[in-house]
Symmetry: C2
Subunit: 533 residues, 2 copies
């Protein structure tokens, strides 16, 4: 990409990555032409370990809320959480039309209902192959092969040329752009191991999967019918998706095959298939609680065969391993990525990405979805297919790219980032709070209170010391006594009127911090509180 400055004037197409470039999950981007903005996808991600206490992470859409921008709508490519999960939060701030296929909107609706905004939302169903004109953008949906049905890529005609967004697709079918649908990669290589498991399992079969991998669920439902096992679905998200996909005709389930979870004991164990979510070892998920025998209804039994049919997302390995340990401890047999070969990734592999590049033969290329290392490796693939370095842009969230028919240059940087959801709060936990939480997590807190007579400057009560997370309570007595003495020694010189409170607080803070550090090498947060009377 040319390194000269952004194009001036309005006659350039701006590509604006709002999320998912530089991290995995919050996929959301936009195209802008003369202040008219088309948004694609609205994902969420689950917090990483250093985001203490955070429930969810969203992309920052404040750019879209700026005056002078007309947001035409949000186009959803498919129904995975990392593409639709952030939609309710976005619509609450900017209620625009939402375009998506039947299943995608079907999976969106329960979310909007939960957020109490379903009624006022403007959902517009499109079929695969449909074309929608949105201001200067003509959006055509393209059938693609992915781990969820009704998934699409997008071909978007713009004033400066066509933008093709392959999304998560492994392969796409598109007459215009020369793509052909091959055998769906997602269905390859799975039948074998599952067949063996259905043939040989002596008792219950339990399969944990991503809740949105409808293709895998369909495959398992077929296997269950063939091997005459009843199917029970465990876990709220999977039950919801199972229901939606079945109602909309994307999941074909023979009558009488499924049983309510509550009835599982009426079926002999060798005639039962349990489908669960929680393949990532999430602490509150059905599988994790099942494995630890903490599930209210159903728990692991000896001779269960448990298949974890999704590779751990990086960072989740330890949690998955804990679940595997628990399953083994209770006598189950476990098949997971490191043992059996039962997972086929939902995302395109290197060879498929190369094929895609060769089929589309783009003039310009911007890799999306992933950490920087993944974007860079994808850009190297594009180099290998013959694209020049000026025709490739490796950018991260907020780094816009300006396009004309003639060139692609780096645009201005717009403000983006991660928005944290914690309980009811969206964006009210930011760096100050997280820094405090990390400090508290590391060494705990020590509160020192005393009551000061404003007139005489004498201490009327305290100092009292209370610690949490610093040292085991029964061992704290000496440390607290020493710190208290240190405070008293240090504040003696303040015993006159017109005491400078902030100086007194600082003195107490330093005296306590030093004593604790000297004895323990810990640095708890120290908070002096002075009540004046």
């Amino acid at each position: 990409m040319s390194s000269r400055g952004p194009l001036t004037g309005a006659s350039r197409l701006r590509y604006l990555p709002l999320g998912g470039l530089g991290e995995v999950g919050i996929n959301m981007w936009a195209l802008e032409w003369e202040n008219k903005v088309l948004v694609v996808d609205a994902g969420l991600m689950f917090p990483q370990e250093d985001m203490l206490g955070i429930d969810l992470v969203l992309p920052d859409i404040s750019y879209l809320l700026q005056g002078g921008k007309e947001v035409l709508g949000v186009f959803l490519t498919h129904g995975h959480e990392d593409h639709i999960g952030g939609l309710p939060y976005a619509l609450k701030k900017i209620n625009v039309p939402v375009y998506g296929t039947r299943l995608t909107l079907g999976l969106v609706k329960p979310k909007l209902k939960e957020h109490r905004i379903l009624r006022e939302s403007d959902l517009r169903e499109v079929r695969v192959g449909d074309t929608v004109q949105l201001g200067p953008f003509r959006v055509e949906t393209i059938a693609v092969c992915h781990s969820i049905p009704d998934a699409t890529a997008l071909s978007i005609e713009t004033p400066v040329g066509r933008v093709i967004y392959t999304g998560d697709s492994e392969e796409a079918r598109c007459a215009h752009c020369g793509l052909q649908l091959h055998q769906c990669a997602n269905c390859r290589g799975i039948a074998g191991p599952f067949e063996r498991i259905f043939n040989e399992a002596p008792s219950r079969i339990v399969v944990a999967n991503f809740a949105s991998n409808i293709h895998r669920v369909q495959h398992l439902v077929r296997m269950a019918a063939q091997f005459e096992r009843k199917v029970a679905v465990v876990g709220r998200s999977l039950q919801q998706n199972f229901k939606t996909a079945r109602e909309l005709g994307f999941l074909s389930v023979p009558e009488g095959l499924t049983i309510p979870l509550a009835d599982y004991e009426r079926v002999p164990p060798s005639k039962l298939l349990l489908l669960t979510a929680g393949s990532q070892g999430e602490p509150m998920s059905a599988l994790t609680r099942f494995a630890a025998q903490r599930h209210p209804f159903i728990n692991v039994l000896k001779d269960d065969w448990v298949v974890i049919s999704a590779r751990p997302v990086p960072g989740n390995e330890r949690m998955v391993h804990q679940t595997v340990n628990n399953l083994y401890r209770h006598g189950a047999r476990v098949f997971y990525s490191e043992v059996g070969n039962v997972h086929v990734t939902g995302h395109a592999q290197r060879e498929e990405l190369r094929d895609m590049l060769k089929a589309v033969r783009p003039r310009y290329f911007i890799p999306v979805h992933g950490e920087y290392r993944q974007l860079l490796l994808h850009s190297e693939l594009a180099r290998e297919t013959g694209l020049g370095v000026d025709h490739i842009a490796v950018v991260e969230d907020g780094e816009t790219v300006d396009l004309t028919a003639e060139e692609m240059v780096r645009g201005e940087k717009v403000s983006t980032g991660l928005v944290y959801v914690d309980g009811l709060g969206v964006g009210d936990v930011e760096q100050v709070v997280l820094r405090d939480r990390r400090h508290l997590a590391e060494d705990g807190i020590l509160v020192v209170t005393l009551t000061l007579d404003r007139d005489t400057g004498t201490v009327r009560a305290g100092p009292e010391l209370i610690s949490r997370g610093v040292i085991e309570p029964e061992l704290s007595v000496r440390l607290m006594a020493d710190a208290r003495k240190e405070v008293l020694d240090n504040i003696r010189r303040f015993a006159h009127s017109h005491t400078d409170i902030s100086l007194l607080q600082e003195t107490i803070h330093d005296a306590v911090s030093k004593t604790v550090y000297r004895q323990t090498r810990r640095r708890p947060m120290v908070i002096p509180v002075i009540n004046e009377i």
Copy 2:
């Protein structure tokens, strides 16, 4: 293993796993015969994410300190942290002779010095092949192939038969037990990719490795000499190990090949090899700081070729990926497990474990080192080689096994566990503190203070509310005001003398908790402090 109870009387050999069975790292176990105890290894592990603020984790050796036990000594098998790192802490509690090979003791000494116990420690060097009689135990060291030189397995003659401990070895040589040394697995398969890197790198080569992988360091030193690159060592632990191994003759370095780190700019980039530790992305490690351009002396440059020559330990993937992202962002080329094929594991693989079982043909088998899932899979290998289920014991820390010449049965469970090191404290952070730290990390803390007149029961100052880690300060004003009002409303009824302080505290706690939960769905720790005057 037979399921009947422990053997009574003293004439049984007790196998006692103190650590490393059920988790990875704190390898330590013992054999006991008539109250005489031989200890093998004393490892440490680095904390997992949920062990907030913890620096190190040690095995619990309180069993060894019980009256009536005579600990004969500690035998160290090799110089890796997970086998020697806990030794200084153990020796401080129980100063017994320490046996190990030259390099192993060489790596132990700086640790004892740092803990100021080198002088009083009783280190006894053994050579590979030596036999040492320790009470009823006759210990023979066996040469093994591992990623560190001078590593041993142990063959221990006991009153009930011979115990063979293969340790971390991939292959072992032992005339008695029928083992033969094949080509060292650790040296296979590495030359190729490194050769390519030394041939093609246009500028600096940086290789990150485990600090104790001396074989790898030796290989790289040879490559550097061959390709005429100078070697600079980055990072304290690697520098220390490099020095020790060189002084003791386990690392052969041509004169003039190494340069002090401070001199690196005097060498052309294409003539430089940097060796660093930090292959696991540890936050304070040399490589992490190098990649983030936060190292005081040396930082990543465009065109550096960086090789991360160790697979991430499960749980460390995300940190390693962050380091890789940073290296790429600064224009380096990176080779790591998912891209290049430059790592060969230091630990035995399935086939080697099977060969070992076939060579030793044990009568009884106890898998060691690892999480439960790994122990179980290892036990299944033993089943496959023909060992009966009564001859295999899968046990975790503290689950003893009693052995006679005739049988192996489950013994009593002894108290073990993880001992946390935090700063200077060893064992003064336990579950109460960690639970508090987790609570603080999740939702922060809110301290409510007020001063109460003991005689009249009236509030003389406050309530004052201070929060940390709950909500961004600029957004907290309304929440704090509401909570304060709620406290005042609730404590009004206490406005008389003889106030029950603990009831008042509870009232304040509940009033604040409810207000905060209602408005935010968060549950910070709430601490009411009442100063009485």
